[in-house]
Symmetry: C3
Subunit: 356 residues, 3 copies
C-alpha cells in the first residue's frame, strides 16, 4: 500500500507554512497536469497560477509569493521559499529510489588487490581492477568498469556500462549515468609529414564531490596532470570534455556541449545545449552561454553570450532578429542607390541650368 | 552456396512488373556502382537513369516511371511503385540477418522473478533484473542491461551494451542499437544559493512499437510521468531526448539532434542532424527542420524551418545566401552615404545660389 | 623507484641536439606549468618562450628555432625538429602504459570457432562471437563485444564497452575508446505512406590500420558495401559516421562532428568539433573545416571553409564580424533613407523654383 501522509506532516518536512487543512491525506506526488485527488503537486512560478483552475491535486506546494492564495475547491497549500526544492524532497519521500542492495555479486570480477568500502554494491559483470578503491556504500551497477588504481568515493552511483579508466578519481556522492566514460584518452597527436603520431595521454580525470555526469558523456584524461570537474557541477548527456579542461564548482552544462582541450571554465556557469568552446580559453565565473553557441574567445566573469562566434547575448538577439530580413535590407539598399542616382541626375541638371 | 532466384520469382515477391526475361538468374543484391553480373540493384529516381550505362547488374528494380525502359545489354527490369521498399525486401531475401538463437546464455544473469517470453534470446553477460519482462522472441545481445520492472516487447532487439533502466517500457519490434541508453535520469535541479540539488527523476520512458533507437542515443526518463517515443518513430545515433519529451508517431530524427525537456514533437516530423529544440515548446505534425537548426519557438503543423533561431526555411535560404556578402553590403552602404553627403553639399550650394 | 635518465641519453633517444649539461638527471615528464626540478618538459612554439621564466623544469625540449637559447638558471635544453613528437617519446619512456597481460580471462566468452592470435588479451565479460578473428597481441578490455565473423587486427586495443558488430573489419594498431560502436545499422528507411520501413543494413565497417576512434563515437555499417575509415585517421569522441561514408587517410575529425550517409571525405582533412557534413557530397583532400560548420556542398581539395552553410573561411570571418553590427547597419540604412527623402524634397523645391 502506498505511503500516506497528512499535509501538516509534509509542511513540517519541507519547512513550509500550511495554508488550509492539515489533515488532508496525501498519498503521492504528480505533475500539475497529471495530478489526481490525493496527490500533491507544485507550482514553481506565480505566472502559472492559472494552471490551478484545472488542477485536480489535493495540495499544492507554492512559493512565498502565494501566501495570499485562498484554499478553495478542496485544494490546500504549503508555501515555501523554494517550491522546487521542497517538491524534490516530497518526490524522494513518496517515490524513493530502489537501489541495489549492498554486496558483491558472484558474477562480478573484483581484483583481490582492489579495496571495497563498507556496504558497497558491485553488480553482475562489473569489473574492479587491481588497486582500485571503492568508497563505502558506493553502488556499481552491472557492467560497470573501474580501472586499475582508479577510485570512486563514498556513496557514489555508477549506472550500467559506465567506464572509469585507470588512475581516475571520482569523488563522493557522484552520480554517473549509463555508458558515460571517464578517462578516455585525450585527442592529441604530433604531426610528422602527413602522419599523426599519438601523444600518450597519461594524466587523469578528477571528478570532485557531488557532481553528476550524464549518459554517454565523455571526459578525457589529461595528457599530463588532470582534467577536473569541480564539486557540485552537473554535466548532461553526450557532453564532451576534452583533455586538461578544468570546470569550476556548481556549474551546469547542458546536453551535447563540447569543451575543447585545456579550456578553463569558471564556477557557477550555465551552458545551454550543443555549445562549443574552443581550446585554451578562459570562461569566467557565472558566465551564461546560449544553446548552440560557439565560444571562440575568453569570456569575462558574469557575461552572457550567444552566437557563432559568441557575442554579448543582447547584441546577438538583436542581430539574429535582423538576419531573416537580410534580403529586405539588401533590396532597400538597392532602392536607395536608385534614388540617389536619380537625385544625382536631377542635381546635375539643376547645376547645368544654373550655369546657363 | 548463395541463394539463386529467377527474376520472375523476384518480380512476384515484390509485386512488380517484369520487363525483360523472367528466367534471368539472380544470386545477390548490390549497389548500382558495385553490382556485378548476377546481382540485382535498384534505381530510386528517374534522374539517375544515366547511371545505368556503366552498371553491370543483371537486373534493376525501377519505379513505375521506368516502365518505358527497354531491356538492353543484358539488363532486365522490375518496375514497382516503391523501388526502395522493394529493394529492402530483396536485401532481406538474399542477405538475411544472422541473429542469436533463442535461449538464455549460462553466463547471463536473469533474476528468478523476471519473466521471459517464449523464444527469447539472452546473451552472455546480459542482465535482466527482478520483475523485468521480456516478450516472446525478443533478443538481448551480450552485455545488455534491463532494469527492475522494465519491459521489452515481442520481437524487439537490444544490441550489445544497451541499457534500459528500471520501470521503462519498450514496445514490440523495437530495435535499440549498441550502447544506447533508455531511462537515464532527466537533468533537473533545484537551485539553492549556488548549489544545485537533484530533483529525483522517478518517471519512465515509454518507447512504443516499431521504433528504432540509434547507437549511443540517450533518452531520459521523465521527472514524473513519461517521456514518450510514439510508434514507428526512428531515432538516429547520439540523439538526446530529455525528460518528459513526447515525440509523435512515424517521426524521423537524424543524428546528434537534441530535444530539451518537456518539448512536444508532432507525428510525421523530419529533423535533420544536429538540430536543437528548446524545452517546453510544441513542434507540430509534419514539421521539417533543417540540419543544425536551433528551434526556439513552437512551430505550426507542416512548417519547414531552418537556422539559429529557426525561421521559415525559404527565408533562411535567402538570408543565408546574403550572409557571406555582408562585407560588400556594408561597403555599399558607406558608398551611398558618401554620395548622399556629396549631394547634400551640392544641393546646399544650389539653394544658396537660388537665394542670391 | 622512478626511472632516471641522464639528459644526454634522452637527447640521443629523441635524436636531438643537447644544449647544456648532459649529466643532468631527469626522472619524469610534466607540463611546463606543473614541472618540478627533475622533470623535463617541452615548448612547442617560439611564441611561448616567455613561459620559461617561471618554469621549474630541469630540462626543456625545444624546436630548432631555439638553438640560440642559452642554458641559464639550472635549465638545459634538447633542440629537435619536432618538439611535440620528441616529447611524446619521452612520455612513453617515463610513463609507459600499463596494459592488461596476455591471456583469456576465465570469465570472458570466446566462441570455440573464434580465432585468437598469439598474445591476445581478452578481459572479463568480453565476448568474441563465432568466426571472429583477433590478431596477435590485440587487447580486448573487459565488457568488449566482437560480433560474428568480425576481425580485429594485430596489436589493436579495444577499451571497455566497445562493440564491433558482425562482419566488421578493424585493422592493426587501431585504438578504439570506451563505448564506441563500430557497425551499428545505418539510418535507412523506405517510406510508404506515413510509415518508414527499415532497409536492412548488410554492409560492413572497415577501419584500416593505425586509426583511433574516440569514446562513444558511432560508425554505422554500410547498407551494402563498406563504410571506410582509411589508415592513420583519428576520430574524436562522440563523432557520428553514417552508412557508406568513406573517410580518407591521415584525416583528423574532432569531437561531436557528424558525417551523413555516402559522403566522401578526402585524406589529410582536418575537421573542427561539432561540424556537420550532409550526405552524398565530396570533401576534397587537405580540406579544413571550422568548428560548428555545416557543409552542404562538395568542397574542393585544399579549401578552408566555415559557417552554416559553409563558405570560404576568410569570407566567413569577415561576414561574422559584421553580423553583430546588423542592427547598426539597419539603422544606418534608415538614416540614409531619411536623408534621401529630405534631399528629394529640397531638389523638388529647387526644380519648382527653376520653373517659375
Amino acid at each position: 500500500m502506498a505511503l500516506q501522509k497528512r499535509l501538516e506532516e509534509l509542511a513540517h518536512l519541507v519547512n513550509g507554512r500550511l495554508i488550509g487543512r492539515g489533515d488532508t491525506v496525501i498519498s503521492g506526488v504528480a505533475t500539475i497536469e497529471e495530478a489526481a485527488p490525493g496527490a500533491i503537486t507544485f507550482l514553481s512560478d506565480q505566472r502559472h497560477l492559472k494552471l490551478l483552475a484545472s488542477c485536480r491535486a489535493s495540495a499544492i506546494v507554492i512559493g512565498e509569493w502565494g501566501e495570499g492564495v485562498a484554499p478553495e475547491g478542496g485544494k490546500d497549500y504549503i508555501a515555501v521559499k523554494n517550491p522546487q526544492l521542497a517538491f524534490a524532497a516530497l518526490i524522494e519521500l513518496f517515490r524513493p529510489a530502489s537501489m541495489p542492495a549492498p554486496g558483491v555479486h558472484p558474477k562480478s570480477e573484483v581484483h583481490p588487490r582492489a579495496e571495497l568500502g563498507e556496504g558497497v554494491s558491485v553488480g553482475a559483470f562489473a569489473v574492479v581492477e587491481e588497486g582500485a578503491r571503492i568508497g563505502p556504500r558506493a553502488i556499481l551497477f552491472p557492467n560497470v568498469y573501474v580501472g586499475r588504481n582508479a577510485s570512486v568515493g563514498e556513496g557514489s552511483v555508477l549506472y550500467p556500462g559506465v567506464a572509469v579508466r585507470e588512475d581516475c578519481v571520482v569523488g563522493s556522492r557522484v552520480i554517473i549515468h549509463c555508458n558515460a566514460v571517464v578517462g578516455s584518452d585525450g585527442f592529441g597527436y604530433a604531426r610528422e609529414g602527413r602522419a599523426y603520431h599519438k601523444i600518450p595521454q597519461r594524466g587523469i580525470v578528477r571528478i570532485e564531490d557531488d557532481c553528476e555526469i550524464g549518459a554517454c558523456a565523455t571526459i578525457d584524461r589529461a595528457t599530463l596532470g588532470e582534467t577536473v570537474i569541480a564539486s557540485g557541477t552537473k554535466i548532461d548527456n553526450l557532453v564532451q570534455i576534452a583533455h586538461n579542461v578544468k570546470v569550476g564548482r556548481d556549474s551546469v552544462i547542458a546536453a551535447q556541449t563540447g569543451i575543447a582541450g585545456s579550456a578553463r571554465i569558471g564556477s557557477g556557469v550555465q551552458f545551454g545545449g550543443q555549445v562549443g568552446v574552443v581550446g585554451h580559453i578562459e570562461v569566467g565565473d557565472g558566465v551564461m552561454i546560449g544553446a548552440k553557441s560557439g565560444v571562440t574567445n575568453s569570456v569575462p566573469d558574469g557575461a552572457v553570450v550567444s552566437g557563432i562566434p559568441a557575442i554579448a547575448h543582447k547584441e546577438w538577439l538583436r542581430a539574429a532578429a535582423i538576419f531573416g530580413k537580410l534580403p529586405e535590407l539588401k533590396k532597400r539598399i538597392s532602392e536607395l542607390k536608385k534614388r540617389i542616382s536619380e537625385l544625382e541626375k536631377r542635381v546635375e541638371e539643376l547645376e547645368g541650368n544654373g550655369k546657363r
